[in-house]
Subunit: 138 residues, 2 copies
DNA sequence: ACTTGACCTTACATTGACTGGAAGCTTTAG
DNA sequence: CTAAAGCTTCCAGTCAATGTAAGGTCAAGT
């Protein structure tokens, strides 16, 4: 099947599929006219990539997961470890964003938000302490 | 003062400061030897940038914030609006990550994680439902 | 005077994961 | 026959820096 049909089945843009081929994640055959020709197995791999990318795995992690998927004798522990590491990273990112959110919230709460020029948000950005919530640099 | 000293005072790498100049966020003078020469006012702007970037504002948002900071007659409402929009974006990102986390957690919980090859995580990535938590595509 | 090393300069390449666009094939529908 | 859709490759751009290379300048020590 042509790239357009594969794209539709995998819910990925054709452009992205070509990119995945560029970086060696998938190697479809070619038809006589030079068009890429995707087998059901190829589409399956693309779906795997779509799902793992949407779960936040990086391309390199997806590469590893795919190779584990291809390896009939892999240990499930290896896969579980990758997923656990990913959860840790997601947790760290969430914590960082929550800290940012709390600082931004303090700034917004302290700003009267009217037509007058004096603004506690800009004062804080300029380095004048606003009286609550320490920076917690990201 | 030279870029190294400015970098230290603003807690930014010299490289980043040159980049900020490239994109027009700051315009230091030049000494006779061609070296950039930063005034206290320049350092102040760099500190403003360091702080606003660390709070998660994009470069373009920082540009706007700086111009508001320069504008003596700005309304604090304008600044407050930018900060509120940023909080919204941060909230959306947090929600997305929490959803990912929950899906990943279900997968990890379902994986026995031993030396056997069968793995619910890979099964899920391959499209076989694992029995809980719908995708919630990011 | 000479050398070493720290610091400065510019310019270009790379990152991650695509996305957009140009220029030119092939195929399909009318 | 023609127009549109779909395919091809290749190059550029995104964001916010960061890495590297090749070279100029300055201050200290011998």
């Amino acid at each position: 099947m042509n790239i357009g049909a594969a794209a539709e089945r995998a819910n990925l843009p054709s452009k992205t599929i070509r990119y995945y081929e560029d970086i060696g994640l998938i190697k479809p055959g070619r038809a006589d006219n030079g068009y890429r020709d995707y087998s059901d197995e190829d589409v399956h791999r693309l779906q795997f990539l779509q799902r793992s990318r949407s779960l936040g795995f990086t391309i390199e992690e997806c590469r590893t997961l795919l190779s584990l998927y291809d390896d009939e004798s892999r240990a499930s522990a290896d896969v579980k470890e990758i997923a656990r590491e990913k959860i840790k990273k997601v947790d760290a990112k969430i914590a960082e964003l929550q800290s940012l959110r709390s600082t931004l919230n303090v700034l917004v709460k302290n700003c009267h938000g009217d037509q007058r020029p004096d603004c506690p948000i800009l004062d804080d950005l300029a380095g004048h302490k606003v009286g609550a919530a320490e920076p917690q640099s990201a």
